[in-house]
Every structure is written in structure tokens, then in C-alpha cells.
């Protein structure tokens, strides 16, 4: 029975676990509940992904109302892959979180913190799973609202977390509202909220001005959530001042989910065949992506705080996503999705490593990294591997991403873009070089007894680090999954409305 209903249980189990955390008094119990829910989601996402690859699209009708009238959870190769990404990062972050949260959150608030964490997690899973555009908005807001709270929880360490959360709230809400406006126009045109149905009904309306306006609103809305270059202002502070674990979770999943929604809008609801979209891709996304890569990377060079360096690097990586999308080809889309997965793994791993440093030193400025290479060898080794991956050294997953991005650029014949991609990854060399050099080659300023982080933090972090290497050496798994996802999005958006269903 569980297997038949996995599509919904995947989301609803974390959502059930969240109120249980409210009721549980002890932080340890709350953590246990959260960890169980996370692990369940992880296992479930893998099973679902396998099911989708074997048997095709899964469509789950909530309340037994058939789509397009009822809300449908619709899993194809694309979103079941994103589901794996989200639940993997989420589960690892929750497992890792106990000690880190003990240090950074007051004890009374910890069960509520886990509640918010689970809500955020469930929201992201919901956004990824649902096939209904408005339901998507609802889940998006569940995840966004809880992430505002989570970011603000960093105020224990630094009061700037509050203003960061406030800015995030303003821009996030504006983004979500933009999405709703766009959705309203599409609804007015088509009378449906089911994304697959919408896509079918839109065909032939490409000339409609309303449709274009709707497209613009939805794209800008998601652009804000994804922190596309000129709309990234909320991100650096939110990442820098949030509790470590929240930063790792958000960096690994939040922008990925937003990217997924963007892909849905671009390739499922709309299609690059529409002139306004292909123009948007080429004349808006391409330059913005490039600008994002360079501007954010250069800003990252001058940051004094490691979390901020990584945050700006995340904005730069959003630029890469955008580049992949802007190629409007299966190759580009695949590169984008490969990068989505890879970046989630490596960036979360990096932020978790920073979390270990914060746990021991209480700070994450580059100065506090001095000499840590000798004092926290395992943490810093994970950090170095993550950094190498971000630079794109072969045998790490970052290399695979770059490879496919450049290949996609060459397929389109866009030489300068290919050059820009490698040049951008070089900048990563310099901003990571600074941190790693400080960690290994500079003597630590104080002789306090800083030791290695506890095993309960190291083990989950190293799970990500090892997958960072293993999937870099053998990329068959991720790449074929991403190819299936890209093809599902690009080639076959309208196929098979009534898919095989549950009972």
C-alpha cells in the first residue's frame, strides 16, 4: 500500500512529522522524528525515481478527483530527479543538524526549529511533486515562510539575521505574488490550473498578449526565488546569517526547487517554440547568466566571511543554470539539470563543513579558518574537495557539470559562451584558493584547543563529500538521469496526460 501512495506520502510524512515535533518537549525526540521523516523521504524518493524510470509518469489524484479538476501529484523523470536531490540534501542536513543546532539555537526553541525545518523540507518536496500550478504556489509559500523563520533563527549568533530574513521575506513574497499574477492570467486564458492541461490548452495562443504578460510575471517571480543575477539581493545576507544547517539546506535545495519551477514554466507550460520565449532565453537569460557568473564571482573574491563567499558563489552558479537553460536544447537542459544535482551536493557539503568550523570556532570569517587544516583535518579535507569540485577539477562532480555546459555551448556554436564558462570557473579557483591557503598555510592566530568536529557531524558531511567524488568519477548515474529528465521536459511535455495511476 505504501508503494502505491508513495507519491503523496513522500510529502505528507514530513508534514505529519512537523506537528509531532511541536508536541515533543525534548529536542532529541524532535530530532529523531525529523531524522526518521527525512530518511523516509530519501528512501521514498529513490523508489519513486526508479518507478518513474521503469514505468513512466506517475500521477496521483488527491482525494480521488481526476485531473484537471482535482489536484494531481505528477512525477516524471524531471521532478522525480529533483525530488531525489531535495530529499538527499534534506536528509543529510537533518542528520547532521543535531549538534550544530544544540550550539546555535536555544534549547526551548529547538523542537520548533525542527518543526520549521520539516515544514521547509515538506514544502520543497511538495513544490517538486505537484502537477497543479496553484498547489505549487501553496507549497512554495509553505517552504518560503518557514525558511524566513529559519533564517531569522540565526539572530542568536548575529542580529543581522533579522534584517536578512526581513529582506528575504519582502523579496520572496513579491516573487511569489508575481508568480500568482502570472498564473491568474494563464488561468483566465485557459481555465485550468493543471500544468500539463495548461500546456495543451495554451498551444495556439502564442500570439496572445495576456499570455506574454503571464509569462513575464511568472519568470520574474521565479527569478527572484532563484536569485538570478540582478534579483539576488536577498541571498548573500540570508545565507550568511542563517544558522549553519539552514544555510546548507537552503543552498542545496531552495534555489534548486526554484530552478525546477522555472524549468516547468519554460518547458512544460510554455515552450521554447513560442517566439517570445526563445527570445527571452537568448536575449535575457544568456546575458543575465553570464553577468551573474562574473559579477557574483568577482564579488565573492572580496568577501571576508566564508559563508558570504559561498553565498556569492551560489549566485554565480545560478548563472550557470541560466546559461544551460538559455541554450534551449536538450544538451543545455541536461547540463543545467546535471549541474542542479551536482551543485546541490557540493554546495551543501561546503556549507556543512563551514558549519563544523562554526561549531568549533564560533566564527566563519576567513581569519578564523587560519591553521584549521591541521586542527580539523577531516572538516577541511571535505572543504577542499568541495572547493575543487566547484572549480571543476576532473574526478569531481563539478567537472561533469562544466563539461556538459561547455559541450552544450559548443553544440549551439556559441564559442564565446564556452570560453566564458571556463573563465568563470577560474574565478572560483581564486576565491576558494584564498580560504584553503588560509586553512593550510597560515598559522592559527590563537592557540586555543580547537579540535575536530564530532563524528555525528562529520559522517553526514562526508557522505556528501564521498558522493561528490564517486559521482565525479562515474557520472553515468547522474548523467543518464539528467538526460531522461531533460528529455521529459524538452521533447515530451504534453505526452501522456492520463498516466498510470494509483488504485
Amino acid at each position: 500500500m505504501i508503494l502505491q501512495h508513495l507519491a503523496i506520502l513522500q510529502v505528507m510524512l514530513p508534514l505529519l512529522a512537523a506537528p509531532l515535533c511541536v508536541l515533543s518537549r525534548s529536542p532529541l525526540l524532535a530530532w529523531g522524528i525529523a531524522a526518521l521523516a527525512g530518511l523516509f523521504a530519501l528512501a521514498g524518493s529513490f523508489i519513486l525515481f526508479a518507478q518513474v524510470l521503469n514505468a513512466g509518469v506517475i500521477s496521483y489524484h488527491i482525494g480521488n478527483w481526476a485531473p484537471p479538476w482535482g489536484i494531481e501529484f505528477r512525477l516524471d523523470a524531471a521532478n522525480s530527479f529533483v525530488l531525489v536531490v531535495v530529499s538527499l540534501v534534506g536528509a543529510v542536513c537533518i542528520l547532521y543538524g543535531r549538534r550544530s543546532i544544540e550550539r546555535e539555537i536555544p534549547e526551548d526553541d529547538q523542537p520548533l526549529f525542527y518543526t520549521m525545518l520539516l515544514l521547509c523540507f515538506a514544502g520543497m518536496l511538495g513544490v517538486t511533486s505537484t502537477g497543479d500550478a496553484f498547489n505549487l504556489f501553496v507549497f512554495l509559500e509553505i517552504f518560503s515562510l518557514s525558511s524566513y523563520v529559519l533564517v531569522a533563527m540565526g539572530a542568536e549568533r548575529d542580529r543581522r539575521a533579522l534584517t536578512a530574513a526581513f529582506t528575504y521575506l519582502l523579496l520572496g513574497t513579491i516573487g511569489a505574488t508575481f508568480y500568482v499574477i502570472g498564473l491568474g492570467f494563464v488561468y483566465a486564458l485557459t481555465g485550468t490550473l493543471n500544468m500539463a492541461d495548461m500546456a495543451v490548452r495554451i498551444t495556439g495562443m502564442a500570439g496572445s498578449g495576456t499570455l506574454r504578460v503571464a509569462f513575464a510575471f511568472m519568470i520574474i517571480g521565479m527569478g527572484l526565488k532563484l536569485a538570478i543575477f540582478p534579483m539576488h539581493l536577498w541571498l548573500p545576507n540570508a545565507y550568511a546569517f542563517a544558522p549553519s544547517i539552514v544555510t546548507a539546506l537552503l543552498a542545496g535545495t531552495a534555489t534548486k526547487v526554484a530552478l525546477y519551477v522555472l524549468l516547468r514554466i519554460l518547458f512544460t507550460i510554455f515552450s521554447p517554440a513560442y517566439p517570445f520565449e526563445s527570445q527571452t532565453l537568448q536575449y535575457l537569460f544568456l546575458p543575465l547568466g553570464l553577468a551573474g557568473v562574473f559579477v557574483a564571482s568577482i564579488v565573492a573574491l572580496f568577501q571576508q566571511d566564508v559563508k558570504r563567499v559561498l553565498a556569492w558563489s551560489s549566485i554565480a552558479q545560478s548563472g550557470y543554470f541560466l546559461l544551460g537553460v538559455s541554450f534551449a536544447s536538450v544538451g543545455g537542459l541536461m547540463a543545467s539539470i546535471v549541474h542542479l544535482f551536482n551543485h546541490a551536493i557540493m554546495k551543501s557539503g561546503l556549507f556543512l563543513a563551514v558549519g563544523c568550523v562554526v561549531y568549533r570556532t564560533g566564527s566563519c570569517s576567513i581569519a578564523s579558518f587560519r591553521g584549521l587544516g591541521h586542527k580539523m583535518p577531516w572538516t577541511m579535507a571535505a572543504f577542499v574537495i568541495g572547493g575543487l569540485s566547484m572549480i571543476g577539477i576532473p574526478a569531481t562532480i563539478g567537472f561533469t557539470s562544466k563539461w556538459y555546459l561547455i559541450l552544450a555551448a559548443l553544440e549551439r556554436g556559441w564559442w564565446p559562451v564556452a570560453i566564458a564558462i571556463v573563465a568563470g570557473s577560474l574565478l572560483a579557483l581564486f576565491y576558494f584558493g584564498r580560504i584553503i591557503e588560509a586553512a593550510y598555510l597560515q598559522p592559527s592566530t590563537d592557540d586555543s584547543t580547537i579540535t575536530e568536529a564530532p563524528l555525528s557531524m562529520l559522517a553526514p558531511m562526508w557522505m556528501l563529500t564521498i558522493s561528490c567524488l564517486a559521482l565525479g568519477i562515474d557520472s553515468e548515474l547522474t548523467v543518464s538521469a539528467a538526460r531522461a529528465a531533460a528529455e521529459a521536459l524538452f521533447l515530451d511535455p504534453h505526452a501522456g496526460l492520463p498516466a498510470h495511476t494509483g488504485p
Binding site: H5, M12, V22, P106
Partner: protein, 145 residues
């Protein structure tokens, strides 16, 4: 405001009526206009009025924050649980038809449970928000989460 006798009498007269209205809106929700959201807010407003007139201390005596937190979670659990009930009975998630032998009765039951869950959560949440903000303003509480 202890000395404002008119306010106190007025409030005492009004509060039961407000609550009654809330209940009406709540239980009428599956037939006509109304439902858990509206009813929850109305219900909470009765308490808020009580708090305004008789003071925060009184309000916290009749609706303590820890209880409100538990109620919030409880409403939430009822909602999710109704969904799982559908699963347990062999239907889809949130499948109301399956809840009773007659699908129409099942729909009634299902929506009733859902609205009840929403009502409880909304009422307790509104009250909790009010209490937190109010407590903060009068400096009676430093931590408001």
C-alpha cells in the same frame, strides 16, 4: 481597563454571541458560505475582545500559550490524519468518498473534519499571535516564539 464597567458588561454580552456565530460559520461551512478559516478568526476574535477588556493576564489564564501551541499542532494533525484516514480505508489521500458507505455522507464527514481542523488551528494561531505581540509590547515576556 478594570474600571470601564460598560465595556466589561458589553464584552460579556457580546463574547458568547461571537462564539456562537463562529460555531455557526464553522458547522455551516460544508453547506454554505463559511468554513474553518472564517470561523477560526471569529472565534479567536471573541478571545481577543476578552483580552482587550480584561487584560492579558486574564486571557493567558483562559487560553494559556502552551495549550494554544498544542491546539495548533492538534488541528494540523487532524487535517493530515483525515488524509491518512482515506489511505487507511483503501482510498486515495484526502479521499472523502471512502469515509462512509454513502459517498455523499463521506464527503460531508470529510469536509467537516477538515474544516474542524482548520478552525482549531486558525483560532489558536490567531490567539497565539495576539498574545505574543501583546505580551511583547507590555514587556511581560521576552521570548515570543
Amino acid at each position: 481597563m478594570k474600571h470601564h464597567i460598560i465595556l466589561r458588561i458589553g464584552a460579556k454580552l457580546l463574547i458568547p454571541l461571537i462564539m456562537l456565530l463562529a460555531l455557526y460559520v464553522q458547522f455551516h461551512g460544508d453547506y454554505g458560505p463559511g468554513g474553518g478559516f472564517q470561523a477560526g478568526v471569529i472565534f479567536a476574535s471573541a478571545f481577543i475582545l476578552y483580552g482587550l477588556v480584561f487584560g492579558l493576564g486574564e486571557l493567558r489564564r483562559v487560553a494559556p500559550l502552551p495549550i494554544l501551541m498544542k491546539l495548533m499542532a492538534a488541528g494540523w494533525l487532524i487535517y493530515i490524519g483525515t488524509g491518512y484516514l482515506g489511505l487507511a480505508l483503501g482510498g486515495m489521500y484526502l479521499d472523502y468518498n471512502i469515509l462512509s458507505s454513502d459517498p455523499v455522507a463521506g464527503q460531508h464527514l470529510g469536509i467537516f473534519l477538515i474544516e474542524l481542523a482548520v478552525g482549531i488551528t486558525v483560532a489558536s494561531t490567531m490567539l497565539a499571535i495576539y498574545q505574543c505581540f501583546n505580551a511583547h509590547q507590555s514587556g511581560e515576556m521576552t521570548e515570543n516564539e
